[in-house]
Amino acid sequence: MSLETASRAPLTFTRHVPPGAYRLLAAIVLALALTFASDVFPTWGNLLNVLRQTALLFLIASGLTLVILTAGLDLSVGANVALSACLAASVIKGAGSPWLGVLVGVGCGSLVGLFNGTLVTLLRIPSFIATYGTMWILTGITYYYMGGETIHGFPPGFRQFGIGYLFGIPIPVYVMILFLAIGTFFAERTVWGRQVYAVGANPEAARLSGVPVERRLLLVYAVSGAMAGLASLIILARINSAQGDLGEDLTLPAIAAVLIGGTSLFGGSGTVSGTLIGALILTLVVNGMNLLQINASWQPLATGVIVLLAVWIDIATRRDTD
C-alpha cells in the first residue's frame, strides 16, 4: 500500500503510520505464529493454497468493498455465487462451450446486482433488507433449478481457471492481482470512483455537487454482482462440480474481509487493497484452524467474532478521530 492511498484514508491510529501497515503487520505476525505452530504451514504447497483461497475470497469481497464504500451492504453475494455457478455449469455441460458459460456466469451475477441496485435506488429499500431478501430469492431459484442434482466434470481447458499454474503460481492469483489493479485504479483514479466515495461520505452533499447518486449506486451493486459471478466460475473450475448449497458459507467471510481490510461500514472510507489484506488475514485464520485440526464447526463462530471485532475497531477509531 502506498503512502498516497493511506493519506486519503481518514482512519489513522497515529498521524504518521498508514493504517494499512498495521493490518499487513497483523497478517505477517499471524503467518509467523502459524509457522511455529504447524510444520505443514510453511510448505510451498500450503502457501500456494492460502494464496489461492485468498484470491477467491478477494474477488467476492472486492466488489462488495465498493458497495460498503457507499454505506450499503450486499448480503446476497454468496447466494449470487451459487446461482451463477449452477447456471454457468449447466451451460458449459449443455452447450459444451466454456466461453458461453463464462458469459452466463458473469451475466447472471451482473443482472442480480442490477436487481439489488434497482431495489435500493428505485424502491428505496435499505440495502441490507433488499439484498437479504434477494439472498433468499436466489437461494430458492437455485434449489428449484438444481432439484437436488449435482453438475460435475468440466472440460480441462476451463478447469485451468481454478487449478492451473503459470510460472508456478496458481492462475486465480493472477486474476486477483488483475482485479486488485483494476479496482484500485477505478476507486482512486477515476471520476466515477471518487464519486463512489462521495456518495458514501455524504449522499446529500454528493447530490448537490452534481454526482448522479442513483446511477453510481446502481453501478456498485452491478459490479458486486459481476464479481460474484466471476468468482463463481473460478470456484466451479476449482472444485469441478456445482450444487445448490455452493455459496452458503461465503457471505459472512466476504463481509469480514472487507471490514478487517479497514473499509468503514458507514461509507466513504476504505481501499480495495485493504480488502486484499483482510482476505489474507481471514484465510490465514481458517487455514491455521484447519492445520491445527480444529473442528470446522468452529469456523462460523470464529468468523462471527472477527466481524464483530472489526466493526467495533471501526467504530472505536472513528470516535477517536471525530
Binding site: 431478501g133 430458492g140 463481509i255 464447526s297 462460523p300 467474532v305 466493526v311
Partner: protein, 316 residues
C-alpha cells in the same frame, strides 16, 4: 357528486391496510386453486403451524420499530432448542430444560443489546455476527447431530389441547397479549416508538435510550428462547440447523404487515396478519407440492409486492 363518491371510495380503499388485501387475494387464490385448502382440518393445521412464526414476528416487529434488526433470532432459537433438549435429556426435568432455553435466548438478546446500544454497532451487522456465533455453537455442541430422546411431557406442548384449543395457539395468543400490552400500554412501549421516531426526545425526557434498546433486544432473545420450547416440542428433537433462516420468514411477515424499516412506524396486529399471510402462502404451496426452497423465493416476491404497494400508496 360522482367525483365525490369516487373520492370517498378511493379514500376508503386507501384506509384498508395493504396486508389485508394481500391476505384476501392469497386466500381466494388458493381456495380456487386447490379444493383441499379451505377445509377445517387444513385451516386448523395452518393456524397451529403459524404459532412458531408468530412468536418470532412479535419481537421482530418491536426491534424493527426501533430502526433495528435481529438477524440472529433463527440461530438463537436453534441454539436455545439444543440447550433445552440437552438439559431435558440430561436431567429429566422439563422445567430445567425450559429454563435453559430461556437463559440462552436471554443471554444472546443481552449480547445483541450491548453490541447495538453500548458499542454502537449497526444492528444488522451486530446480529449477523451473533448469528454466526450461535450457529457455530450449535454445530460445536452437537457435532452436527440431532438431540433425540425428548420426554413426552415436552412433545405434548405442541400436540396437546386445553379446553379444545391447541396449546401452541394458546401460547402464541398469550405472547401476543403480553407484547401488545408492553407496546401500547407501558412506558417501555412509548420508548420503543420514540427509539424509532425521535431518540432525542427520549433522551430529553430523561429516559435512558441505551437501557431501553438493550431491553428491546433482550426481549427478542427471550421470546426466541420461549419459541425454542415450541420448536423442540414440534420436532420432538433438537437439530443444529432446524431454525436457521426463520428470521427471514419473521422479517417478511413484519414487512408484509406494514411495519416500516424507517421512522419507527409499526403495527403489531399487522404483523399477525403478515404471519398468517406467510403461513397461507407456505401452506398453499405445500399443497401444490412446491419445494420449501422455492417457497422462500415466493415469500421474497410477496414482500417486494407488499413494499411496492406501500410505496405506491404513500406516494398517492
Amino acid at each position: 357528486m360522482t367525483a365525490q363518491a369516487m373520492r370517498q371510495g378511493v379514500s376508503l380503499l386507501a384506509r384498508i391496510p395493504g396486508v389485508a388485501i394481500v391476505l384476501a387475494l392469497l386466500i381466494v387464490g388458493f381456495t380456487l386453486a386447490n379444493p383441499n385448502f379451505a377445509t377445517p382440518g387444513n385451516i386448523a393445521n395452518l393456524l397451529v403451524q403459524s404459532t412458531l412464526l408468530t412468536l418470532l414476528a412479535l419481537p421482530t416487529t418491536v426491534v424493527i420499530m426501533t430502526e433495528g434488526l435481529d438477524l440472529s433470532i433463527g440461530a438463537v432459537l436453534t441454539l436455545a432448542s439444543i440447550a433445552l433438549a440437552l438439559t431435558v435429556v440430561a436431567t429429566g426435568s422439563a422445567a430445567l430444560g425450559i429454563l435453559a432455553g430461556l437463559a440462552v435466548g436471554l443471554g444472546f438478546g443481552l449480547l445483541n443489546g450491548v453490541l447495538v446500544a453500548s458499542l454502537n454497532l449497526p444492528p444488522f451487522i451486530a446480529t449477523l455476527g451473533t448469528l454466526g456465533i450461535a450457529q457455530g455453537l450449535s454445530l460445536v455442541v452437537t457435532d452436527g447431530q440431532s438431540v433425540v430422546g425428548i420426554p413426552s411431557s415436552i412433545e405434548r406442548i405442541y400436540s396437546g389441547t386445553l379446553l379444545g384449543i391447541p396449546v401452541p395457539i394458546l401460547l402464541a395468543a398469550a405472547a401476543y397479549g403480553v407484547v401488545h400490552v408492553l407496546l401500547y400500554r407501558t412506558r417501555f412501549g412509548v420508548a420503543v416508538f420514540a427509539l424509532g421516531g425521535n431518540r432525542e426526545a427520549l433522551r430529553l425526557a430523561g429516559v435512558s435510550d441505551r437501557a431501553m434498546l438493550i431491553a428491546v433486544y433482550a426481549l427478542s432473545g427471550l421470546i426466541a428462547g420461549f419459541a425454542a420450547l415450541l420448536m423442540t416440542a414440534r420436532l420432538n428433537a433438537a437439530h443444529p440447523t432446524a431454525g436457521l433462516g426463520l428470521e427471514f420468514d419473521a422479517i417478511a411477515a413484519v414487512a408484509v404487515g406494514g411495519t416500516s424499516f424507517e421512522r419507527g412506524n409499526g403495527w403489531l396486529f399487522g404483523s399477525l396478519l403478515g404471519v398468517i399471510a406467510v403461513g397461507v402462502l407456505r401452506n398453499g404451496l405445500n399443497l401444490a407440492a412446491v419445494p420449501s426452497s422455492t417457497q422462500v423465493a415466493c415469500i421474497g416476491a410477496l414482500v417486494i409486492v407488499a413494499l411496492f404497494i406501500d410505496a405506491l400508496r404513500s406516494r398517492a
